[in-house]
């Protein structure tokens, strides 16, 4: 015990005596371990930990599948068939239908749009959620007419209703109708497939809906009975749907129901490639950090060979020496581990703050990501192993060496020290190679991101405010009402001081709404199912295009003439024009779309616009006049001369003058909508910039450490050279060229590895080849410059060697 204390005290003294070594080692460990732990904590929360439900491995989602055409959908396509399956199956303990809904909440403050869902009565019970107040739905509450009950999320209850304790039994107004609050579920309950849900009502299917065999409007999941496998359930479903197929050949031909693990369905949606890329990259960073630590420990052990020889000469046993070294190393790693923990914690919080609000609800365990201590221990362990192997091995060697020999050896190089010098050089070359791989990979990803951000979206998002809302079908059940609403709001917005131009559309880029329709040239025979074309569909007011600054390529824009009285007209984007009429003029041709096969005349062609993501991709886009095709979902765009954010209140007021109960989903600059949707990429990009910088920094420390050590080992030799007439500049050149030689070996190996590895990034790269020449040239040059800078300080030290001193103390 006493010797341990003695060892500890001596260890602390040794670390304090060499503050530069200690600081660099602790910093390296903290960064390497911290970054790994932070990233792995997310990987663990999202991809490894089970979903936060009891026996979540028994939860599966149902997918509709067409055996002949081969498609699979994550929602149901036949309500009646699903209800038959629900009744007949023996595999499931529970089956649950659900659909995400945005509820219009009025009364108790300004109208608000609340995300939530309509769910079967057993939704909460199947997921094992316990209410903090009241109860969950009762078995018969999802019958039509019975279902005027609602369950609140804790967030909504604490926010809008100020945590009112007597909320149970109160009436609230949803979509203009009164609902009774029966329960409040805790904020920790989440259903990632639904987003940030805060309000649930029963999924009350009408008899007509229940009988519909060719359509469905919801998704479903189920809980398998204990001991039943997904394969058995799927076999049963195949049997039941086989019967339905013979019974109802018209609607059920080829139709079957597949089951898929809920866990994997959720995980697939969570940016797995990005997360795995981050993980591989931090893994490489950890390797770099380990090589650094190994290098530092090795240098230190070499520097102390003589000390250990003296201790050995004075009678210290090998065990005693090893214990001393071990104590010191453990102490160092303890500090590194503590610093790494703090850094990791900070990293977890930082990344969490980067995750945009709108996707948080879709992430499993969001808000419950904690520093993963298993990872911390694991990464610390790996680093410790490196440190011990490289720190202790030379010490053992020194203990084995003939004590007298080592003492006499003085500064001339012993064979052992030369071998370890070679090992250090190999380590630092490997480290640089890894750093170059990381830097190239991150540069490719960041470059791709920058290109996608800077490529034109096809409109001008600056100084443009967007107000989005959905009109309740209960109140606006006629086309004329819809039409009047948008026209009146447009008129009031037009009159706003500061509004340069305004427009309205059924959906706007990066907004919350969107619609796709099937499309074909009119008069042609109906295409085979696998040849059907779909297009993004927007009903727009005539001024929408000028307000957005979407450019007309051919023909004319929609105008007020395309009104109620005239025949339907449409505009297409360049992608449709090129795909459907590659060598012809589409203007004047007829096109038909949607389930009603509505026929329209094409009056103009506009440029493609980015609707959902900044990476441009080809998408067919179809526009029709809002007057002819009124829409319940609306996005109003207001272009202003200067900064548009000040207009938000005026815009809300303009809408509420027309309907004071109408909730507004959002009033935000278009640039904000884009930034929010792109936030996932931005998080990854920020991480990439950070990891790239970290890899470069660690690489630089590595070269610096080795060269500083090399110079300190060569002081005597440099003294001789200077006595013989080497000028300071010649000495500097000698040190730097040795450093650069090491660096260039590492860089060359790194570039070759990166060439092979970057192919794995291909799917994440946009307009950047995996072997992008600029990156593959720029990164090595940059790294060489960094290596040069890292060699400069040791080289300067070499330059300042006083030959007299070097030769006197040998």
């Amino acid at each position: 015990m006493q010797t341990l204390w003695q060892d500890l005290r001596y260890g602390v003294r040794m670390l304090a005596k060499n503050p530069a070594f200690t600081a660099v080692a602790v910093l390296t460990l903290a960064l390497g371990i911290g970054a790994n732990t932070a990233i792995f904590s997310y990987l663990d929360a999202w991809l490894i930990k089970p979903l936060p439900y009891p026996n979540s491995n028994r939860l599966v989602i149902f997918e509709s599948h067409d055996k002949k055409k081969g498609w699979t959908r994550e929602y149901l396509t036949s309500t009646a068939s699903f209800l038959d399956f629900q009744k007949q199956n023996n595999s499931f303990e529970q089956t649950v239908g659900w659909r995400g809904t945005n509820f219009n909440l009025t009364g108790d403050g300004p109208p608000a749009l609340v995300e939530g869902g309509e769910v079967s009565w057993n939704f909460f019970d199947t997921l094992g959620a316990n209410p903090i107040l009241g109860r969950t739905f009762a078995p018969d509450e999802d019958r039509p007419g019975r279902g005027r009950v609602a369950i609140l999320g804790e967030g909504l209850w604490r926010g809008r209703y100020a945590g009112e304790p007597n909320i149970i039994g109160r009436n609230i107004t949803i979509g203009g109708e009164a609902y009774t609050v029966i329960g409040v579920v805790p904020g920790t309950f989440q259903f990632p497939l639904m987003g940030i849900a805060n309000l649930w009502t029963p999924l009350a299917l009408t008899d007509k809906e229940r009988a519909d065999r060719s359509n469905s409007t919801f998704s479903a999941f189920g809980r398998l009975k204990a001991g039943v496998t997904a394969e058995q359930a799927e076999a049963e479903s195949a049997a039941i749907f086989g019967q339905l197929e013979t019974q109802f050949p018209q609607t059920n031909e080829n139709l079957t129901l597949l089951v898929d693990s809920m866990t994997w369905t959720v995980r697939r949606k969570e940016g797995v490639p990005e997360l795995l890329t981050c993980f591989v990259i931090v893994g490489l960073v950890l390797l770099i950090a380990c090589a650094n630590v190994a290098n530092l420990m090795l240098a230190r052990a070499m520097g102390r060979m003589k000390e250990f020889a003296v201790r050995g000469a004075l009678g210290a046993t090998k065990r005693r020496l090893a214990r001393q070294l071990l104590t010191e190393s453990l102490l160092l790693f303890f500090f590194g581990g503590v610093a790494g923990t703090f850094f990791g914690l900070w990293g977890v919080r930082l990344i969490e703050s980067w995750i945009p609000g709108h996707i948080r609800g879709y992430l499993v365990n969001y808000g419950h990501v904690d520093l993963d201590f298993a990872t911390l221990a694991f990464t610390l362990g790996i680093a410790l192993l490196c440190g011990l192997v490289f720190g202790l091995a030379p010490a053992f060697e020194s203990a084995r060496l003939d004590v007298n020999h080592t003492l006499k050896e003085a500064s001339s190089q012993a064979s052992g020290s030369r071998r370890s010098a070679r090992l250090r050089q190999i380590l630092v070359s490997a480290e640089i190679a890894l750093a170059v791989v990381v830097l190239i990979a991150t540069t490719l990803l960041v470059k791709s991101f920058i290109i996608s951000v800077h490529s034109s979206p096809g409109y001008n998002p600056a100084n443009l405010m967007v107000a989005q809302l959905a009109l309740p079908k209960t109140k606006y059940n006629q086309d004329a009402q819809l039409r009047n609403f948008s026209e009146e709001v447009l008129m009031r917005m037009q009159a706003l001081p500061g509004a340069v131009s305004v427009g309205a559309a059924s959906n706007v880029p990066f907004g919350g709404f969107g619609q796709w329709v099937e499309l074909q040239a009119a008069g042609k025979p109906s295409p085979r199912p696998d040849e059907r074309l779909y297009a993004h569909f927007t009903a727009a007011s005539p001024q929408y295009f000028s307000a957005m600054q979407i450019k007309l390529v051919k023909g004319r824009l929609l105008n007020s003439g395309d009104g109620l009285g005239s025949s339907p007209s449409a505009m297409i984007n360049q992608t449709i024009a090129q795909q459907m009429w590659p060598n012809e003029d589409p203007v004047g041709r007829q096109i038909q779309f949607g389930e009603q096969h509505t026929v329209c005349t094409i009056v103009g062609v506009v440029n493609d616009v980015k609707m959902h993501e900044l990476r441009p991709r080809l998408e067919r886009q179809l526009y029709v006049p809002l007057t002819q095709f009124p829409s319940a979902t609306l996005g109003f765009v207001v272009r202003t001369a200067g900064d548009s954010t000040a207009m938000a209140t005026a815009i809300r007021d303009a809408i509420w003058t027309v309907d004071r109960d109408q909730p507004i989903s959002s009033v935000e600059p278009l640039e904000t909508l884009i930034a929010v949707v792109d936030a996932g990429n931005r998080v990854v990009t920020k991480l990439m910039v950070f990891f790239g910088a970290l890899a470069m920094f660690l690489g630089a420390i590595g070269i610096y450490g080795v060269m500083a050590h090399v110079v300190s080992q060569r002081i005597h030799e440099i003294g001789i050279r200077m006595a013989l007439g080497a000028s300071p500049a010649q000495v500097m050149r000698m040190v730097i060229s040795q450093g650069l030689k090491l660096a260039s070996i590492g860089i060359a190996v790194g570039v070759l590895c990166a060439l092979a590895a970057s192919r794995g990034l291909e799917t994440m790269l946009y307009q950047v080849a995996p072997s992008d020449p600029a990156t593959f040239l720029g990164v090595p040059v940059l790294f060489a410059a960094v290596a040069l800078a890292a060699c400069y300080i040791p080289a300067q030290r070499g330059m300042r060697v006083d030959p007299l001193v070097a030769l006197r103390y040998e």
Binding site: Q413, E717, M722, L724, G725, P728, L807
Partner: protein
Amino acid sequence: MVETNGTLIKMEGVKKVFYTDEVETHALEEIHLEIKRGQYISIAGPSGCGKSTLLSILGLLDSPTDGNYWLNGQPVAKLTISERTRIRNREIGFIFQAFNLIGDLTVYENVELPLTYRGTSAAERKQKVQQALERVGMAHRLRHYPSQLSGGQQQRVAVARALVGDPLILMADEPTGNLDSKNGEAVMELLRDLHRNGATICMVTHDQRYANFAERTIHLFDGRIVEETREAEVGA
């Protein structure tokens, strides 16, 4: 290379004080010294009397605290660092007690160093290195590393390195200190040979036997020259 009476080195009132942690060490006091071309002079005295310090100043590795020093008629005090480097490289050849060969370089490369630093062409270097090694009898060991040679052989290589650039003067600090007497004598014999052929040599030794090899011996004590003997007198 037979020389006239030209003065190569002249020192007047040279003084050296080392300041370390509030302690002043007066290593040299009032040194007056003149060395002519072709002379072989030895500096003798007990350990710590300032012999190495004097040699370092003579060899431009160090500067005097006070006093004047002319090398080849040029006042040394006014030289810039790069001029001192140049002179060390071209006009002074060093031989150390601990040989100070570079362990990672071969015999050939070690001898080549002074020429490399002055930018001599490779062909000329090769010829001169060869000649220098022949003069010390080590031409057959070109590719060996210092660790593969005996102490005496190492010192002979060091001598070759010192004279390869045709310096004006050879400075040797106890060149036999690390050698047994047989090897020591061989090295002294070598220096005497070089002197006979015209080399100017300045050698530190505290071994009376070897001091006698020189024409003049300066005796140092506590940093001062206390006596000077000439070969003739000793021999008498």
